[in-house]
Symmetry: C2
Subunit: 131 residues, 2 copies
Amino acid sequence: MLKECGIKPSKHRIAIFEYLFNHRVHPTVDIIFKDLFFDIPTLSKTTVYNTLKLFSEHGIIKILNIDENNLRYDADISEHAHFKCDKCKRLIDIPMKNRKFEGLETCGLIISEYQIYCKGICNECQNSNIQ
Amino acid sequence: MLKECGIKPSKHRIAIFEYLFNHRVHPTVDIIFKDLFFDIPTLSKTTVYNTLKLFSEHGIIKILNIDENNLRYDADISEHAHFKCDKCKRLIDIPMKNRKFEGLETCGLIISEYQIYCKGICNECQNSNIQ
DNA sequence: TTACATATTTGTAATTATTACAAAATAACA
DNA sequence: TGTTATTTTGTAATAATTACAAATATGTAA
């Protein structure tokens, strides 16, 4: 997959991409780094930053800016929206079919990418009565 | 307007809200602070941060997270999307009518707010041939 | 007006995510 | 093996935002 996007597949790059591909919770750099560091003790956080930026420049992942504090990363580049629960803080994918924005398509802008970010309360937190 | 939202209108609060209301370019804290500081030399940047956070908590403004580096603020709380030009970096409002997300409304999540962020090339930058 | 309580603002310091960059390590290849 | 290019590392720099205590301003009752 990396090769197809014109990225030379080094050990670390493969590890980072695999991690993101297998962990669909949109992790932060910190989470990715800490988890991988367990297996690859020579890994540097800068490498994680560099590699993820490289990936996103080649369009193989997407950077999510939904969280105020830090960036999050998503290996699923198919069309879907993102939801952040105000209670449990989890990020959840929302599938989207037949989306339609009147106005957005017809304003003369060339739109190369877009993101839809939602906030509210997720299913689990609605059902649990713990405040 | 501030009173209606349950915010005590102090001098600075009025100044900050007026500024945002009259400058619809979604300025950063830094821009707001520097412009207002010219007239109010006693103003502190922390006050700008505090005040804007207060405003957004009371729903009288919206915080935009479209820019990677810093937050931006919008006194227009009506439904519209935002576009950032990759060339000139400007933020542009996109009006939206009859938007429809199939899937988004029917997934059981309670969505209290959402944002649509687009990126690409704006009209002006398409027409100017300067790279 | 004065005294007091409350709310607001200030300014500095701390926190934290991200980037810059040069050195070190690794890989590619003749 | 020797040389070059690429990747990775680790530290330092940058910069946005927040924490917090002190200072200031405001409102109110006596």
